[in-house]
């Protein structure tokens, strides 16, 4: 039931006939094409960040740069406080992810494993939240946070991010928990485990893949969030990355694109590193996260 099980199940290979070989070659070509389409943008961003500003303005933006320059990175660091933006984004992302995972598991556990009279209704209540667009709740949220004294703090970004991410997390955890065989819990009960010990000894350890999926999907959403940070935070020491990327905007909306792309390169590096280092865990997590561990 863990990722090991999934690994062992992979790589079905079929005895080949001529037609199948052709089909396999065709598959390889299609897959290669898809990979090209998926990887290309990152390469393009990196090339743009290394391209002289004037060449970006004048030349074919898809050509290989004639000169490689680090000037864009110099400007990116000089005009924006990149380290600070990254730190703020990291604080917000880690805190929000942790809360989403813990709260999501708790709710799903109560709904799916413990169960109670209106559990389906409560689940439905959470799931409705999947479909709520965040934008028009901004004014009420702002007024509420003002009344609670939450404005201008990390919490004012974290709370709405957690709230709006929670429904999908609850849904994913719940649908995963429905695959855990009842016998496991029954056995634990026989051993005298109460609801709390069962949660920590069975449910939490088995949720790893779903946790990875939830964290990965939400990290992308949180790392990119502009609207909450822009609305609820005035203090510039608390600017997150998406707000910081505006530092390269000049009068009337002119934008220093090559510096922006240098900054984009810097700011996606932590995510890229996480993806590469935790590669297997993430890939198998997403692969198994929506169904079974």
């Amino acid at each position: 039931m863990t990722s090991e099980a999934v690994v062992n199940r992979s790589a079905p290979s079929f005895p080949g006939t001529g037609a199948l070989n052709l089909q396999r070659a065709f598959s390889q070509v299609i897959i290669l094409l898809i990979v090209l389409v998926q990887v290309y943008p990152l390469v393009w961003i990196l090339l743009t960040a290394l391209r002289p500003a004037q060449e970006f303005a004048a030349g074919n933006p898809f050509a290989i740069p004639s000169v490689i320059t680090l000037e864009n990175f110099e400007r990116a660091f000089a005009q924006g406080n990149l380290g600070h933006y990254l730190l703020n984004s990291a604080i917000v992302t880690l805190a929000a992810d942790a809360l989403i995972v813990v709260l999501g598991m708790m709710a799903a556990y109560a709904i799916q494993v413990l169960g109670f009279k209106y559990s389906r209704l409560v689940l439905g209540f959470f799931i409705v939240g999947i479909v709520v667009p965040a934008h028009v709740t901004l004014v009420p949220l702002f007024l509420n946070y003002r009344n609670l004294g939450l404005l201008n703090s990390y919490w004012s970004i974290i709370v709405p991010l957690v709230g709006f991410s929670l429904p999908m997390a609850v849904y994913l955890f719940q649908s995963f928990y429905s695959y855990i065989p009842r016998e496991l819990y029954d056995a634990a009960t026989v051993d005298g485990a109460g609801p709390y010990r069962t949660f920590f000894s069975i449910t939490v350890p088995m949720s790893v893949n779903t946790v990875v999926t939830v964290v990965f999907v939400n990290t992308i959403f949180i790392w990119n969030d502009f609207i909450f940070a822009n609305t609820f935070v005035l203090d510039k020491d608390m600017k997150t990355v998406p707000l910081g990327l505006q530092s390269y905007m000049g009068a009337m909306g002119s934008i220093d694109w090559t510096a922006t792309f240098a900054a984009v390169c810097v700011t996606i590096t932590p995510l890229l590193l996480a993806l590469l280092v935790l590669n297997r865990a993430i890939i198998y997590g997403i692969q198994g996260g929506a169904t079974k561990g």
Partner: protein, 437 residues
């Protein structure tokens, strides 16, 4: 749960209640240094914010405990979203940026802004500002609740070499302008670079003809629904705009080209004409950022006339950029004193950055020795008394959106002038009464 909900609903709408009283100028009491905030929509390393930051540092040195926190959001739509949310919650800071829009007028009516005409008068600084700069920031009734910090003239930058190659000269009438396009296009260049992603640059084009034919009259009536686009001036204007599409003046995909794209098309030698304010002077005189064929070939002409023009050749789009408002809720002796200090120092420091100043102070030696820069500075004393105003700050916001959307379609040749007139007239008839009653 039910109680909490009701309570929360009540507080939601309680925010907008009593009218705030306009504060006394000057406010009574001691100066107590504290941290104050400016919600700005200007580039973070631009001349305005750099200058004010330097001034605030000086002031802080004299007043320990003082700090000016500048929160800049250069992207205008994101900025307005933030400003509107803060205004709805009555959390406007000491300073915030806005144009003299119908929305700002509502803030004024609610007593949320300090009367800056009285403020400047009490400082004795009114006559240090260029009258045009102050007038641009006034509301329709002539009152002033903003402080101008910038100054710009909008001109047609053009590429002399391209004009020569096509055998054309700068247009002397507005009708000559679209007529240039086929000749320029025949030489393989884009006649007119235009930022169509943002709504305002195309909207400048619809303002040109009415300004020449009526000054500000037509717009004043149009925005209230008292004049129509199907009136003679509107018909003349919209048919003239349609000719930009039929003459191939614009890039086929101008609607997807941003501000920087359009400017680059001009400075990189792909487009012959680029209509933009003097805030882009740097890009025009900084040859290092230009394509080789463009260097030394940039000049400008001002808004062409019409045969029966009511406004002069020295009258066109002149503005003082987005203004700075002083919030009335937090207005106290400290804010009063700081603004005085800031404006007193601003005129000299700002002018020396090379940017055109809303104040009359001119440095003895120009901060830039490019001939084009000198030519632009020399334009200021010759300016007339009338100036054209951007339509997007005048129309009610919903009608403005409709006009901007339809304008793109008109300039792309997707709709006719008549269709444009009908749709926009209907939008104004529906939405203007909400704002101009």
């Amino acid at each position: 749960m039910k109680l909490a909900l009701v309570a929360a609903l009540a507080t939601l709408l309680a925010a907008s209640s009593a009218l705030a009283q306009s504060p006394a100028i000057p406010p009574a009491g001691e100066i107590v240094p504290r941290e104050i905030t400016w919600l700005a929509s200007r580039p973070s390393d631009g001349p305005v914010l750099s200058t004010v930051r330097a001034i605030a540092d000086e002031y802080a040195a004299q007043h320990p405990g003082f700090k000016l926190d500048i929160v800049e959001t250069p992207d205008r739509p994101s900025y307005l979203q933030k400003l509107e949310t803060l205004a709805a919650a009555r959390q406007l800071p000491e300073f915030f940026d806005t144009d003299a829009t119908p929305f700002a007028d509502k803030l004024r009516q609610q007593g949320l802004m300090v009367d800056t005409a009285a403020l400047l008068e009490s400082y004795g600084l009114t006559d240090q500002f260029r009258p045009v700069a102050l007038n641009y920031d006034r509301f329709g009734d002539g009152s002033l609740y903003l402080i101008p910090l910038e100054f710009g003239m909008e001109v047609f930058w053009y590429n002399k070499a391209m004009f020569e190659a096509a055998g054309v000269a700068p247009p002397s009438t507005l009708d000559d302008l679209p007529a240039l396009c086929p000749k320029l296009a025949a030489t393989g260049v884009l006649p007119l670079a235009l930022d169509g992603v943002d709504g305002w640059p195309p909207q400048r084009m619809i303002a040109w003809y009415p300004f020449r034919l009526s000054g500000g009259d037509y717009l004043d009536k149009l925005k209230k629904g008292e004049a129509k686009l199907s009136d003679p001036i509107g018909v003349k204007t919209t048919e003239w705009l349609a000719s930009f599409a039929s003459n191939g003046c614009l890039a086929k995909d101008f609607s997807a080209q941003g501000y920087t794209d359009a400017r680059d098309q001009f400075t990189q030698g792909k487009a012959a004409i680029y209509y933009m304010g003097t805030w882009e002077t740097d890009a025009m005189i900084n040859e290092a950022s230009q394509a080789e064929a463009v260097r030394g070939n940039i000049d400008y002409f001002t808004l062409p006339l019409t045969p029966d023009a009511q406004t002069g050749a020295n009258e066109f789009f002149v503005n003082s950029g987005i203004g700075m408002a002083v919030g009335s809720g937090t207005f106290d002796p400290l804010v009063y004193d700081f603004v005085k200090y800031m404006l007193t120092r601003y005129s000299e420091l700002y002018a020396n950055t090379g940017a055109l100043s809303p104040m009359t102070y001119t440095p003895e030696k120009l901060p830039n020795d490019a001939p084009l820069y000198a030519k632009i500075v020399g334009e200021i004393p010759k300016l007339g008394s009338l100036y054209a105003v951007p339509w997007d700050t005048q129309l009610d916001p919903k009608s403005n959106t409709v006009m901007q959307q339809q304008l793109t379609l008109l300039l792309q040749g997707n709709i006719t002038a008549e269709q444009f007139q009908q749709t926009v007239d209907a939008a104004i008839a529906e939405n203007a009464p909400r704002f101009f009653n």
